[in-house]
Amino acid sequence: MSAPTTAEGLLRELAPHVLGALVRRYGHFAAAEDAVQEALLAASVQWPEQGRPGNPAGWLTTVATRRLIDQLRGDESRRRREETDVVVSERLSGAETAAGDDDTLTLLYLCCHPSLSPPSQLALTLRAVGGLTTAEIARAFLVPEATMAQRISRAKQSIKTAGATFRLPPDDERAERLRVVLQVLYLVFNEGYTTSSGDDLHRTDVTDEAIRLTRMLQARLPEDGEVTALLALMLLTDARRDQRTRADGALVPLDEQDRSRWDHELIAESVALLSGVLGRVPLGPYQLQAAIAAVHDEAPSAAETDWQEILGLYELLDRVAPNPMATLNRVVAVAEVHGPDAGLALLASLGSDDRIAGHHRTYAVRAHLLERTGDLTAARADYLEAARRTTSRPEQRHLEARAARL
């Protein structure tokens, strides 16, 4: 990974190290997190004016420590600032980032604590590990800053006990906790993975942030197949980002995208990452999803897609980690391999599953298959029903356009 060149990039990179160092020394996760945010803010104001300090991590740690001590001791500390400064600089002269890697991991586990709701896990991870400000996170999630501030402060309060000890989760809980961390990172990625036009540029930042955090995690746990596969899955998806929407925000389906303009360097990197783990580690859902994305990304044209391979992978995914969306994708793969009637028959057999019946994507898949059988009237009705049932504006426009074409 290349060193960050911008001041903002550097600050985000250092944020978890500084926070980790503070919490390890003083505890008080909630107050320490506030102190680090203040230090990051001070740096973003002072560095451009006064120049970047020789030891940016040391500078941030010193400033954050002062803020933390001010906060914890109140006025008393202001009287003793001189004394405190001496103590702090002595401590800073030691090996600063030796425990940095573990700290970042511990922070990720903490922010993705299973007692928090997913929106809280997302917000806290972006702030404490990602170094984003509350205002930036609020803007990305389109909620008022006060709402986001409250969500973050409440999340910090709920993990007060876990934050006080600041240790990696015990070995027997590690795998399950890592699963939650990966889920949160993938949610962050999906939140941001949207049209890259106009007003939504802020959300593109969120996608980049998810990739950056996952890269960081992968660098620390390179032997974990699912971590590596999640990174590959994000990169394989992101490689198609620019071709996924037109300038006006309209969605472009996979089979109509200009494949020559996908990011082939990113695809090659992802495939290499994935090849490094597949077959060497126990099979998991992210490896299967990344493998499916890789088959799509490596096909020179939509017509040359190896659907037989994709169908096999979806069948495995349905067994390893059954979920309604994977099942619907399996229907599409069945139709590609065995024809639309086979797809429709499989879809009909799923009809009673509550999570599938009534979902807009079920109608969209059926509309697509009906269109291929030539039943255009039924296809049109299903496209329109799907359009009514989605809450995604770009998807709605896309489905309406499909119906209008018939």
Binding site: P119, T147, R151, T194
Partner: protein, 120 residues
């Protein structure tokens, strides 16, 4: 996921219950909103001005023409709305059931459209 909780009613309904009951409902509404602010689920809330203040804007040959009132035959109209940002539809429905006005009439719950693809 963002949801809009819409409270419908009409003059007859709102003028039919005693002042003290009305004040109780207002107090409870404020308490619920404070709770949603504290949980980080509150986005915004507004009461909607009375129907007598409504204006209709139409275009006649491309030029705007403003007239008073909706004058549409509606038994009930929008009285106020809350926008919340919650984890699930279940949570939105749970909050809707606690809106004090739910006791008097009904609360309509609708998801808000967004620009991201639906991944659920």
């Amino acid at each position: 996921m963002k949801y809009m909780l819409m409270i419908y009613g009409n003059e007859e309904l709102w003028s039919s219950f005693p002042q003290e009951e009305f004040e109780k409902v207002v107090t409870e509404t404020n308490a619920l909103q404070a709770e949603l602010k504290a949980s980080g689920e509150f986005v915004s809330a507004y009461g909607v001005g009375d129907q007598v203040l409504a204006k209709q804007v139409t275009l006649v040959d491309g030029a705007p023409v403003v007239t008073d009132g909706p004058y549409l035959e509606a038994k009930e109209y929008l009285g106020s709305f809350d926008i919340i940002d919650v984890d699930s539809l279940e949570r939105a429905l749970e909050i809707a059931a606690r809106v004090p006005f739910a006791r008097l009439g009904q609360v309509e719950v609708r998801p808000l459209m967004h620009e991201a693809p639906d991944n659920e």
